[in-house]
Each structure stands twice: as C-alpha cells, then as structure tokens.
C-alpha cells in the first residue's frame, strides 16, 4: 500500500492504496464519487473523463498514484451549489443525452475543449474533438448542439 494525496473538487483527500488502483477506481470506490463512469475500461469510450491539473484525460487509463498532489475536478465538481455549470445546463436544454451514461465524460471533455479552443466552436471542430468520447445511443447530433450552446454560454459568463 502506498500513500496518496490529492485535491478532488476542492477537498484534500488522502488514502493508502494498492499501486494498481486506477484514478477512476479511487474516485468511485474510495471517494464514492460515482458520477465518473466506467464504460469500456479499455481507453476508448471517454465515459471516465475527469480534469487533472486542468487537462481532460481518461481516468481509467491513469494510475491514482500518478495524481499525487494533483488538482482533480470530476462531474460532481462543476456545478455551483444548485446552479448547473453552463455546459451542464446546455446539455439539459438541448436534450444532449438519451440514456445519460456517456454524459459526464462528454461534459468534462467539452468544458476543457472550450478552455482550449474558445467559445466559438464550429460543428466540425466539435465533432473532431469528440473523437475520444463514444455515445452508444447515437445521440451525437444533440450533443454537438449542446456543446456549441454551452460554449457560447461559457464565453458569455466569462465576459
């Protein structure tokens, strides 16, 4: 067992863990933050995307020990109290989900995309940037619409 400490959604957490523990296992099983999902467990579907030091990455393909000292944000950390993050609100308004399993990963990827490429995103860019996130309800059309709207809302909120 090895000691690990990181900041998750603003709270410092510490634990002794098996070195094999994946970040997604640490978040779900140790911290009971089950909003981050495990879809494929083979680095393909993106349901497990979280932010580590501001970068969106697949928490099923990251060792928890690698994140020692890091700042982690999960889907649970996006809203402010009862007020949804603009990207979450845009997914609701645009019906950007069907079963909802992929949604946490979609939203975490989308929020980082806006930080990286700005609020004005064309459809082609959004579709290219969603390469690492799979939706098996084939609901991409409304997801793309939601991300475009959410990006605009994030841009407006930042002004």
């Amino acid at each position: 067992m090895t000691a690990v400490s990181m900041t998750v959604n603003g709270q410092i957490v510490s634990a002794d863990i098996d070195p094999r523990t994946l970040l997604v296992q640490f978040l779900r099983e140790q911290l009971r933050l089950t909003g981050t999902h495990v879809g494929c467990d083979t680095s393909q579907c993106g349901c497990c995307v979280v932010h580590v030091n501001g970068d969106a990455l697949k928490s099923c393909t990251t060792l928890a020990l690698t994140c020692d000292g890091a700042q982690i944000v999960t889907i649970e950390g996006l809203a402010t109290g009862d007020v949804l993050h603009p990207m979450q609100a845009a997914f609701r308004e645009n019906h950007g989900l069907q079963c909802g399993f992929c949604t946490p990963g979609m939203i975490m990827t989308a929020v980082e995309l806006v930080r990286r490429k700005g609020a004005n995103l064309d459809e082609h860019t959004i579709r290219e940037e969603l390469e690492g996130n799979l939706c098996r309800c084939t609901g991409y059309h409304n997801i793309v619409k939601a991300i475009a709207a959410g990006a605009q809302a994030m841009g407006a909120a930042a002004e």
């Binding site: 690698t66 990827t109 390469e131």
Partner: protein
C-alpha cells in the same frame, strides 16, 4: 493488472539505476500504451518507473538550427507549439492526428518513440526527417533506433531525454487512419532534406521503414510525375482484418503520393477525413 511496485524518481539517473538493476521494470511516460497493455495482463512488470516526477524534460526549443523536443513533451504541446509550427509544421500536424484529445493531453513523444508501436505516427517522422534520439547515455540516429515489433536499440537503463530534428526544406505526413483507433493503417512521411528526399512508412510492417525506390525517384524531382512507374518491392507487409498486405502495398503508394502533394501545396489536407 499483475502486481507491480510503483516508483516515481525525481531524476533520470535515479530512474536509470532502477531500470538497469531490474530487468522487468518498465519506464512510464504518459502511459497511454503501457497502462492499457498492463491492464489486459499482456505484460507483467516488477516495477513501473513513472517518469512524470522528472522535471525539465518537456522543453521545446531551437538549438543550432535544429528543433529539439524534450522526451516528456506531450502531443498537445507539440501540436500547439509555435516553435514546432514555424520549424516543421508537418510535425505539428502529425501530433494533431494522434489518438484523441484525451490521449494527446497525456501521451508524450518519448513514450511513443520508446514504445515503437508498428502503427504509431512519431516513428515515421523521426525516420523521415532523419532525427537523432538523445538518451541519458548517447545519441542514436533514427535509422538505427527502430529494430523490430515494439523493439528498439535502447538498452536496459537507457532513457530517451529528447529528440532532435533537422529542419527540412519541406515535409508532409499522410496517414490512412483506422477510423476507430486513429492508428495508421498506413502512414507515409516525406521530407526534402539537404541530403535528398527521405520517405518513411509506418503501420505497414513490423516497424517503421524507408522506401529507397521512392527516395531515389523523388530526389531527382519532388513531383507526382516522379512516382509514375515506381513499384517498390516490399518485404513482409502486415496483413490483418483491416487490410491485406497487397492492399497495404497499394496504400503506401497512395499515401506517398498524397504526402508529396502536400509538400508541393502545403495547404492541401494530407490527413484523410
């Protein structure tokens, strides 16, 4: 995953000492290939030596007219680097086509090169540009580095610290990507260098290789016409459920043609949509 010891050394020397004394220990950079393979129990390590704690290996800079990229520079850093875009835009475009944004946020050039996946993109750039790999022990020409399927000339305890690219007159990478994984079914890197044209192909065999017949033809004239009638003889090309070896041989020619076109007209998209 099989049990392993996790180590996070602060220096290359410290990492090297562990790797030199434990033959079954494995260095990890971004872990984008290592962790999926380890999770599937395709590999069993006594220790994973996480190089993420080693500072200062991610710098991108020009040095004596050559582009030097630190081994721990992530794909996202290479694709967005103004230094790379100015010196070798084809390299930034190649990095932009690796995996997906989440992989590009984590994966590194040194990790990709050391892993030597037969379908990885960076090896084509290294061989096509005639790059030099800098390790903690020595410098290795790209021509001598890739020796087989996931095999390199790197020795136990040897760690890549940087890759040095001579700046070509022009260069382009064309990739026929697998629609799901975005690995190269076939990728061709064409570069016009001071010593002539170099052509490197990835995805098509056990490891990246050059195509002398195309290089000779294109060194006389970097043009589509120069390729007419040139039919290289290949060794064993890969055959899998995505492409037969005959098909790959055909696609090599097409990717080389597209890369030449992109060299001549840099605004031409060289990646397949």
């Amino acid at each position: 995953m099989y049990d392993f010891q996790y180590l996070r050394p602060a220096t290359v020397d410290e990492a090297s000492r562990v790797l030199a004394t434990q033959p079954d220990a494995r260095p990890m950079s971004g872990g984008m290939s290592l962790l999926p393979a380890t999770k599937q129990r395709l590999s069993h390590w006594s220790a994973i030596v996480d190089l993420g704690g080693v500072a200062g290996l991610d710098e991108i800079r020009m040095e004596h007219g050559a582009l030097v990229i630190g081994a721990r520079a992530r794909h996202v850093s290479v694709l967005s680097s103004s230094v790379v875009r100015a010196a070798i835009p084809a390299l930034a475009e190649l990095a932009e086509g690796i995996g997906d944004p989440l992989v590009r946020n984590r994966g590194t050039i040194g990790g990709s090169v050391a892993n030597a996946d037969p379908a990885a993109d960076y090896p084509a750039a290294l061989l096509g540009l005639g790059a030099t790999v800098v390790t903690n022990h020595r410098e290795i020409a790209a021509d001598d580095l890739f020796t087989g399927l996931f095999e390199t000339a790197l020795e136990a305890g040897e760690i890549i610290t940087a890759v040095r690219f001579p700046v070509p007159k022009r260069a382009a990478y064309a990739k026929y990507r697998h629609p799901a994984s975005r690995y190269a079914v076939v990728g061709a890197f064409v570069a016009e260098t001071a010593e002539g044209v170099r052509v490197a192909v990835t995805g098509a065999a056990s490891h990246v290789f050059r195509v002398p017949a195309f290089e000779t033809a294109l060194s006389k004239s970097l043009s589509q016409d120069a390729l007419v009638g040139v039919t290289p003889a290949y060794g064993d090309l890969n055959a899998d459920l995505f492409a037969s070896s005959e098909y790959r041989a055909h696609v090599i020619g097409e990717m080389v043609r597209r890369a030449v076109q992109a060299c001549l007209h840099p605004s031409t998209p060289s990646r397949n949509a």
